[in-house]
Symmetry: C2
Subunit: 429 residues, 2 copies
């Protein structure tokens, strides 16, 4: 007999069905028991005679197979239930469950949740986070594909770091030393120059950062894009604005079930996202909030306060901060005057979720800017070579998938938006 999914049962009243899933809850009455079965599509109440049940090791979270008749019958879950006539335990639970999955909220701390990831993910409030994350990723791809972008897969084992700094993992690559990519920066620029013009990649990137905060992961999913034939970074911001509108409306439309489980509403972008020079933001933070210590960048508190200001002033949860100082941005960033750059960050509800900007497209300027940043152009020959043979003006951005998910769903920690996180101490599961 073919398996029927629980969300298909409502059209099968009085029919015999085979359903399979996990034992979510058991309530034993005098002669019968109510067993709530869970599969990937939902929950259903099933009725079994106690005499039949007692023969078997019938425990919570066991995987079972039920054959029975779908009967009308109002209960807290559905307007029907299943009268079980035959059943089989496919794989019984062996040990006491370390966490309680059938409570309304999963009341465990973050470590317990992550140590028991396979179990915590079975909770619908946890599961729903990743269903929403799926929609973000799908929306990103769909919008960019519709705009003529090509998806690319670029190497994560690299011979040089793209973002500078020492926060880079080392790999033993046969007799050579290699590194894990901090970003696909060089390669996405190459692919613009290779004639694709517009490319995107959704893949892991690696940062060997020592600090273990609620907004850092050592391995995270970066949604990257890069586009050629732009005038400046404003076109990249324009694209991100449309991209985010598309993603947010997709979630509102297709994520209803999961949003209601999470008791969340998704903000929409009604007109445009405010754009503000970083220096202006720093002035506002000084004058309005008495924050005087900021030098060329915001700290986490500054990000929260400027987001609050923008929300009050413009009613928007997003803000683009632009013109970051040259000394704070990587060597590939297009300078703007002596001290600033054609660059931006996007803050969403007080957290940076995007870094982007225009890149240098001329060979001489790139080499010069490398020297300005104290780098030796000779070490980047396979990268600089591409600028000798017709590189268009271009720019791009990267959105941190776990961060945008966490901010959208009001999660305290980016680890909650990661199936299996890697951080300073977490290498298993």
């Amino acid at each position: 007999m073919k398996r029927t999914l629980i969300n298909e049962l409502n059209s099968m009243i009085n029919e015999r069905v085979l359903i399979q899933g996990w034992v979510h809850k058991i309530r034993k009455l005098k002669s019968i028991s109510f067993v709530i079965l869970r599969d990937r599509t939902g929950l259903v109440q099933c009725v079994i005679e106690n005499t039949a049940m007692e023969e078997k090791n019938f425990r919570l979270e066991s995987v079972v197979s039920f054959e029975g008749i779908v009967k009308e019958g109002k209960n807290s879950l559905n307007s029907f239930e299943v009268q079980v006539e035959q059943f089989e335990i496919i794989n019984g639970t062996k040990e006491e469950l370390p966490i309680e999955i059938n409570s309304e909220k999963l009341n465990v701390n973050l470590d317990t949740m992550l140590n028991n990831r396979v179990l915590s993910l079975r909770h619908e409030r946890i599961n729903s986070i990743f269903k929403i994350q799926n929609l973000i990723v799908e929306g990103f791809r769909e919008y960019l594909t519709s705009q003529g972008f090509t998806e690319i897969f670029t190497p994560k084992i690299v011979s040089e770091g793209a973002e500078g700094g020492t926060e880079i993992f080392e790999v033993k690559y046969f007799e050579n030393k290699a590194y894990l990519a901090q970003s696909p920066q060089f390669y996405k620029q190459m692919m613009v120059g290779a004639g694709f013009e517009r490319v995107f990649e959704i893949a892991h990137v690696y940062r060997a950062e020592q600090h273990n905060t609620n907004r850092h992961l050592n391995e995270y999913v970066s949604m990257d894009l890069e586009m050629g034939f732009i005038e400046d970074e404003n076109q990249v911001m324009n694209l991100e604005e449309e991209l985010l509108k598309y993603i947010l409306s997709k979630i509102s439309l297709k994520g209803k079930k999961y949003l209601s489980i999470l008791e969340m509403e998704i903000p929409q972008i009604n007109s445009t996202i405010p754009r503000m020079k970083l220096s202006e933001a720093i002035e506002i933070l000084k004058n309005k909030y008495g924050k005087t210590e900021l030098k060329g960048d915001l700290d986490p508190e500054g990000e929260k306060l400027i987001s609050r200001h923008v929300k009050e002033q413009y009613g928007c949860d997003f803000v683009f901060l632009t013109h970051y100082p040259r000394r704070k941005r990587p060597m590939y960033t297009m300078p703007c005057g002596e001290n600033e750059t054609h660059s931006f960050d996007l803050l969403f509800k007080g957290l940076e979720i995007t870094t982007g900007g225009q890149r240098i497209h001329r060979y001489e300027q790139l080499v010069e800017n490398m020297r300005y940043k104290g780098l030796e152009p000779e070490n980047y020959k396979s990268y600089t070579a591409i600028f000798k043979y017709g590189m268009p003006k271009h720019g791009g951005l990267a959105i941190g998938l776990e961060r945008i998910t966490a901010q959208l769903l009001g999660l305290e920690n980016v680890r909650e938006a990661t199936l299996i996180p890697r951080d300073r101490t977490r290498l298993v599961p």
Copy 2:
């Protein structure tokens, strides 16, 4: 003025346009020159007066911006051309091109092609390979999403190898030793058990194989799927059959332009893919082709010959080989009798493009099978733990993206189906 793409020009006859792209070809006549401009959508012939051109450094592959009028006029490319009135060199080519991009075929050897990847990818025959690869990936995602699969992102930095063997890259993870994932095997199984039931992932995996053949890469894209609540591996093969039909018909439909550039036709699967026990295949190879040396697996020649046999006998380019011996398959593979397993490979035109099968879902059997394979269950505790709390029967497979692309398009070497390959010697670009 807004940029117009070349494939939009046919609806703009007699209008003034701005086009931007690369200088593909220059043909100088007495007083005018024909310049063929290339952008991501195609080629167009442009007419410029020589007096205007001579002032500037007008070289092949320079990035330029043309303003002019679209005029009717038959030429080898289109039924129109652009009379250029104003132009700008956005970024001029600085050096002699190391390879010739505007020839009909790119006549360079593989090393030259890969060393000059940004240039070789500009050739439409090379570029088209990745447009088809995009359709494979899109088709894979679309079909599985329609079948209730959830996309997952699982860690590539891991504490233990999933596939056994020593072919694994080592990463320095702070004070610990870690590895690059050989496959998402453990994690995709976990996510089945975590209640998603059906999951897929498209991501890089890493194999530290010493050999440098035309079918091996040290970093490749694995299209993985895993599904719960199956009876046995036949359902996984059934799914792959439908999945491949979907992908092939998508390519035929949406890839016409690129297939015609590549002068390729895509095979379709008309009925079902033949399934044959590996032992039967070995018998056929012995009796029909005199290959007597095969023991429990095929060599590359054996793969080619059995594919030829199946093509002759059943008219199909694909064949499932099943029931691989237990000693040849990883410890998570479901045994079938004493010596065989519920497993399969899929060969396509003589090359293995998929490995799959049913997995062990019971804790005791898994631990026992680890010991049979000479592994210490204690070393896999975070993996075996998931089998204690209700793991459904499940199975899955992985398709190598570069391999299926190469086989579909008749490429000699999987590196040709990789934007930036990593192999035994290749760590740049």
